[in-house]
């Protein structure tokens, strides 16, 4: 039981960054950004490589997150400047990222167990060495640290979305024509949102590599659906009314989702089935009309904005 809770909290907070990023693009911007399946392992790969070549783990994690931001920019530029379909742009970036990861790491995975990781490095800031703590203490400290980090991200994002620029981002997802008529270049708001979102997703991947002790090119498979599941769980439990509920709900949804996975493992359910089960649960949540999320925009679908501008006879 204790394992389920600690694992749920630790993994949930780590993947909470990703849930926030996915919420930002899929839900708020109405942009189904598939880049995240690439920027998650990219964050891990860049961080791992940086640590192996001797970089400070703090810097390594930052570099990993920044690499995600670059990936988001790539998708954003493809979509807004080169007019590539949004889903295809994400797929192209993800595909290219695979090469970038293999080239960077030089092999499909890098083990990190012998290197000082991000959490130990932070402890060292407070003059604590890992060996002086019991396992429980160590876990408590890392969970607290992750909690503070994800809470900071949540608060920053909540603040950003209530600034003038943040309002323009939200309106780009809500009524693009309207915000354009108020003088906003919506190509730029989309680009900015994709950068922020993928920065957070890659940060999530970077922290995941630190917590599990390795980076692997395949670690991004299924993370998008898992994030969508987290966001849906959050919405079902905490409501979808209001921005604060959505943001907080995504993190708590992530914790609950990860706790459920840990519970499944504890009950010896076959781990290889988890991804299909998650996919089916997400499908049901989107499909079943009585589920709360259904009353608003479908989560995983791009928003259809009617484009009547080119039609004649509208006079």
């Amino acid at each position: 039981m204790e394992n389920i809770i600690t694992s749920g909290l630790q993994q949930g907070f780590i993947y909470g960054f990703m849930a926030l990023g996915v919420l930002l693009t899929f839900r708020i911007l109405g942009f189904p950004d598939l880049t995240v399946e690439g920027s998650f392992p990219l964050g891990a790969a860049i961080t791992a490589k940086a640590i192996v070549v001797g970089a400070d783990p703090l810097l390594a994690v930052l570099l990993g997150a920044l690499a995600g931001g670059v990936a988001g920019a790539a998708t954003g530029l493809m979509h807004t400047r080169m007019k590539v379909n949004n889903i295809l742009a994400g797929i192209l970036t993800t595909s290219a990222i695979y090469t970038v990861m293999l080239r960077t790491m030089g092999r499909p995975n890098i083990p990190l167990l012998t290197n000082e990781n991000f959490f130990d490095r932070i402890l060292r800031l407070f003059n604590i060495t890992e060996g002086t703590l019991s396992l429980i203490q160590y876990k408590t400290v890392t969970i607290t640290l992750l909690f503070v980090m994800v809470l900071t991200a949540r608060l920053l994002l909540g603040w950003f979305l209530k600034t003038d620029l943040g309002l323009a981002v939200r309106a780009t997802g809500d009524n693009e024509k309207m915000i354009r008529s108020l003088g906003v270049n919506t190509d730029n708001t989309k680009l900015l949102t994709l950068i922020i979102s993928n920065f957070m997703v890659a940060l999530s991947g970077a922290l995941a590599s630190q917590s599990q002790g390795f980076a692997d090119v395949g670690m991004g498979i299924g993370v998008l659906v898992a994030s969508i599941a987290s966001v849906i769980v959050g919405e079902m439990l905490f409501g979808s009314r209001g921005l604060s509920m959505l943001l907080t709900g995504a993190i708590l949804g992530s914790v609950i989702y990860r706790a459920l996975l840990a519970l499944g493992l504890r009950l010896n359910l076959p781990a290889e089935d988890f991804k299909a089960v998650t996919a089916i649960l997400v499908l049901l949540a989107l499909f079943l009309p009585n589920i709360k999320t259904r009353t608003q925009k479908p989560l995983s679908l791009p928003q259809v904005t009617e484009n009547k501008e080119k039609e004649v006879g509208q006079e």
Partner: protein, 265 residues
Amino acid sequence: MIKLTNVYKVFFPNTSNEVLALNNINLDLNPGDFITIIGSNGAGKSTFLKVLAGIELPDAGKVELAGKDVTAYPEYLRAKDIGRIDQDPLASTASEMTIEENLAMAYKRGQVRGLRWAITSNKEKLFKEVLAEVGLGLENRLRVPVRTLSGGQRQALALVIATLAEPKLLLLDEHTAALDPKTAKQIMDLTGKIVSSKKLTTLMIPHNMEQAIKFGNRLMMMHRGQLILDLGHEEKSMLTVPQLVERFSTASGTAFDDDRVLLAT
């Protein structure tokens, strides 16, 4: 102030569906003009407004706004000077955002948007004042999402959004068409009030002939992409609806064929 010179717009060029939506439009607007534009279906009225707003760019000709050549400016670059309302109440407001958030976005029309709080107590006070003038009680519902408003309330809000930052030009494209007659009248009266109090230069495609006569100081007719009649205030204020239809037939050589505009009240 606003000047169009030899403006053309063609849809589906070089196909059998080719439409000359704007055929050599020339127009010079004086500051404070309130112009109503009538014409049959497909006469090019909406295209005309869209070319002014930058939603459509002209294929030939020149569009000038306050002495600046804006012909090639996309919509978002002209937005600082142009407020626009569509006939669809869903088009001019952001549904999932609150009334005050919609107004905060309008407050920043055409300006650089940075990382300051969008809503401050000063702005809130201003929004309340502006909404109180509308008289629909919206000033007490600042934090309500716009999706909960009725069509009329949304168009009233759209009017406030379009005029909050006092644009140089206001474009109204049958903005009361989707409303019931009583609400339409309310919104039209509100429009007249705001336009005259802020002395806004306005182009309106009216929803019916009565609106065309009652509002504005200048009336224009469009037919097949051309401006075929331009009546000044004197001439216009003496007109009745049947006379206006008659003038149209004489000028265009065809009968006025838009029943909706003729019959709508």
